[in-house]
């Protein structure tokens, strides 16, 4: 078996290949790959003995699933009613501007950030809310604060990259 699909097979087997677990299987698969590549969907269908159309149908129905690659950091701007009336849209726009996302584009070209809106995170008491990678919650935030938080991640990533490249440089010299 292709090594790439080994983990995939493990996930399917842990659910005993049950069709009623398809959503849970796709959730785990997405966690692994960060999105659902087409060949993965086909593999899931064959392994579970259901049509690729069924798998594709489920994968495209639920907003949690993505069929295109997403960034390392997923920034979700809550656009529930409470956040909306407290100005979530300007925050969303400011984020997009600071990450230089063109119209229609949701993921930065370096695959670092994906900016999306989400209907409601249920943290209305803290409106407006932005969540980074599911667990970093920024409540009662502002344009300035959230852009600053994202810029901080950018510079951390750059430092990390510089460190890695300088280490690689050392190795080459040696």
């Amino acid at each position: 078996m292709d090594r790439k699909f080994e983990r995939l097979q493990e996930i399917i087997e842990s659910h005993e290949g049950r069709v009623s677990h398809l959503i849970a299987i796709l959730q785990e698969v997405q966690e692994e790959y960060r999105y659902l590549p087409e060949e993965v969907l086909t593999y899931v269908a064959t392994a579970m003995d259901i049509s690729p159309a069924t798998v594709y149908g489920v994968a495209t129905f639920y907003s949690q699933f993505s069929l295109v690659p997403r960034g390392k950091y997923i920034v979700r701007v809550c656009d529930g009613t409470a956040c909306h009336v407290r100005g979530s849209e300007p925050i969303h726009q400011a984020l997009r501007e600071s990450l230089e996302l063109a119209s229609g584009q949701t993921t930065t070209s370096d695959m670092q950030f994906t900016v999306e809106t989400v209907s409601c995170l249920g943290a209305c008491g803290l409106a407006p809310v932005v969540v980074i990678n599911g667990d970093e919650v920024h409540g009662q935030t502002t344009k300035e604060a959230i852009v600053k938080a994202v810029k901080k991640i950018v510079s951390q990533e750059q430092q990390e990259e510089n460190k890695n490249s300088s280490e690689m440089g050392c190795c080459q010299n040696a």
Binding site: Q27, G57, V58, A82, A123
Partner: protein, 627 residues
């Protein structure tokens, strides 16, 4: 492992003795809101301080015996006063400390715990008088509340089954198993007048009766935790703060209708609720409260947890069932109703989280007690999620029939930043808007329906005079259009058509004919859609058209947005009396619409202005004004 009723009661007594031996109990809120503000670090610091003073600490683990009085620190579920978080409650007095920071922990510990002195600066200060309020119950936000579903939220540790049992947990279960027949349980719920808290308001007992009478060996109970209405978060709070209550409610329903298996369907956006529920189910299984021959009776029950994947329509019963079966979450026509043919074709009861959370109290205290709360056709309490431009945001559980004014002004403290009340949006995208004239309207199922709105899930978003109602209607239409599953034409095409019309109106291209077209389309979608999503989707449009028609007319007739929200309808002007002529706006304007000499007042060419708002956001002197 609890094998009998006597063992449960003995366990309760033991747990109570331990709790009563605690002299002071520190409860740190670990709801989503407070966790986001760092409450877990605060809890860790309390724990650390306690560890440094072993003579004070008391261990609640039941295995260990102890005899001295002491101090104990625990996490708790959501208190509902999220805006004031992180919250720390100290019992037995019920002192509530608000907006506690990590650096405040030592002071609370030294002053309150050791020296019995209040840390006044961290108490809640009254909105008007600014005087400190010591206990949680005296705070206006809590004073008028009546908590049944949320009774334990913020008072017990959601991860501790001992704590739940000590607070009468699983007593209702034990009562029905040994004292009541399934028919008696259904009768009790019917008599209580409990109606579904998820939106529809269908009498819970009557729904159960259908499933009880339906033929079939296998029946299911589903707990609907797919709380998708933007602006509502009471179900999240109950699942996170008191998960055992949800489990007990499901078991009562299971016993009544003859089901031995249940599913809890939780939306993907609530990871903490999933975690707490999983833990609660596992401990209930370990304690013998879930499984076979529960407490020595012949009742069996197991619970599975299913996570949603982000689809609002899955809150609809038949769509939710399809989703549990692993399919696209699309609704199907009813009848047959799920109570007759639901999950895998078996009779299935779907109850909302808040509905289930009311059941243990109804069984324990009786139908008469429950029906004495609220008003005649809407008994009991309802939890509302108060949000938007209100001074105190959070969850409030109040008797049915309280007026809008009492909730927004007495409990919510009125509007923030001295804004003027304009409207509330109640019941999410399925609900409607209420205006100033409804301030004395009692909030119950029937009164709201008559006003064209609905209780819905209980989201209550308060809006001030600077909110544009047309834009709000467009916001909700955008939401339902996006969430429409696409199965039936009226909803799929109708919501799209309405959104297009609304877009045209807010960008200045609308005509008066568009308003009547919008109204006509709304009625068609309402009548023709397959499921509740489509049937209620036009409500925000219809109620705003009814109560704020003049605002719509201003948009189409005068091309003006009275609230000053719709950008395309604004005229930007420079106030010559305050403009310093710094030239910043002129430099930044992408359309070259601004001209003027340095140090002289500038002006905007309306022909060229693209209304992007750059100038207004950059002007340091506030000289750029809109009409």
């Amino acid at each position: 492992m609890l094998r009998s009723r006597a063992e449960l009661n003995a366990f309760k007594e033991k747990a109570l003795t331990k709790i009563n031996s605690i002299e002071k109990r520190i409860l740190v809120c670990a709801g989503t809101g407070c966790v986001a503000n760092g409450s877990l670090k605060i809890f860790d610091r309390f724990k650390q301080l306690l560890n440094e003073r072993p003579e004070l600490a008391v261990d609640l683990e039941l295995q260990k015996e102890h005899s001295h009085q002491g101090v104990d620190a625990h996490i708790s579920g959501c208190h509902g006063f999220c805006q004031m978080g992180p919250l720390v409650r100290i019992e037995p007095r019920g002192t509530l400390y608000c907006k506690v920071q990590l650096d405040d922990v030592v002071e609370i510990f030294e002053e309150h715990i050791i020296n019995n002195r209040l840390v006044t600066r961290l108490l809640y200060h009254d909105y008007q008088s600014q005087s400190p309020v010591e206990t949680q119950d005296e705070i206006p936000f809590y004073k008028n509340q009546f908590r049944i579903a949320l009774a334990n939220c913020g008072r017990i540790d959601p991860d501790s089954i001992e704590d739940y049992i000590a607070h009468d947990g699983y007593q209702s279960l034990s009562r029905v198993l040994f004292e009541m027949t399934p028919d008696e349980v259904i009768r009790e719920v019917l008599d209580s007048g409990l109606r579904g808290r998820g939106g529809g308001g269908f009498p819970t007992g009557r729904k159960w009766l259908f499933a009880r009478e339906a033929s079939g060996e296998k029946k299911y109970i589903i707990c609907n935790g797919d709380e998708g209405d933007p602006g509502a978060f009471m179900d999240r709070s109950v699942m996170e703060g008191d998960p055992h209550r949800v489990i007990e409610g499901m078991m009562l329903a299971g016993y009544a209708v003859g089901a031995d298996e249940g599913y809890i369907y939780v939306r993907a956006e609530y990871p903490l609720a999933v975690k707490r529920l999983r833990h609660a189910v596992a401990t209930a299984v370990k304690s013998g409260l879930l499984g076979e021959n529960i407490l020595g009776s012949d009742f069996n029950f197991k619970i599975n947890i299913k996570e949603g994947a982000g689809a609002f329509v899955c809150g609809e019963e038949t769509a939710l069932i399809a989703s549990i079966e692993g399919e696209r979450g699309m609704p199907r026509p009813r009848p047959p109703f799920p109570a007759v043919s639901g999950l895998w074709g078996c009779p299935t009861i779907i109850n909302n989280v808040e509905t289930l959370a009311n059941l243990p109290a109804i069984v324990l205290k009786g139908a008469e007690w429950f029906s004495s709360i609220g008003v005649s056709t809407s008994t009991g309490t309802k939890t509302f999620a108060l949000a938007g431009q209100v001074a105190h945001t959070g969850l409030v559980e109040v008797p049915m029939g309280l007026t809008l004014k009492e909730i927004v002004f007495d409990i919510g403290g009125g509007l923030r930043d001295n804004k003027v009340f304009k409207a509330v949006q109640i019941g999410g995208p399925s609900g409607g808007c209420l205006t100033r004239e409804h301030l004395d309207l009692p909030l119950d199922y029937d009164s709201l329906q008559m006003a064209g709105a609905m209780v819905g899930s209980g989201g209550l978003v308060v809006m001030g005079e600077d909110t544009c109602m047309v834009e709000v209607a467009k916001f909700f239409m955008g939401f339902v259009q996006n969430e429409s599953c696409g199965k039936c034409v009226p909803c799929r095409e109708g919501t799209r058509g309405m959104l297009e019309l609304l877009n045209r109106i807010v960008t200045g291209g609308g005509t008066e004919e568009d308003l009547s077209l919008l109204e006509e389309l709304a009625l068609i979608v309402k009548d023709g859609s397959l499921c509740g999503l489509g049937k209620t989707a036009p409500n925000p449009v219809l109620t705003t058209l009814k109560y704020f028609r003049s605002e719509y007319e201003a948009h189409v007739r005068d091309k003006k947005c009275p609230a000053g929200v719709c950008k395309d309808l604004l005229d930007y002007r420079i106030d010559p009396s305050t403009c310093k002529g710094c030239g910043l706006c002129k430099k930044l304007c992408p359309a070259d619409a601004i001209s003027g000499e340095r140090k002289e007042p500038h002006w905007i060419d309306q022909e060229k202005c693209i209304k992007c708002g750059t100038c207004i956001s950059k002007c340091k002197f506030g000289s750029i004004v809109t009409n």
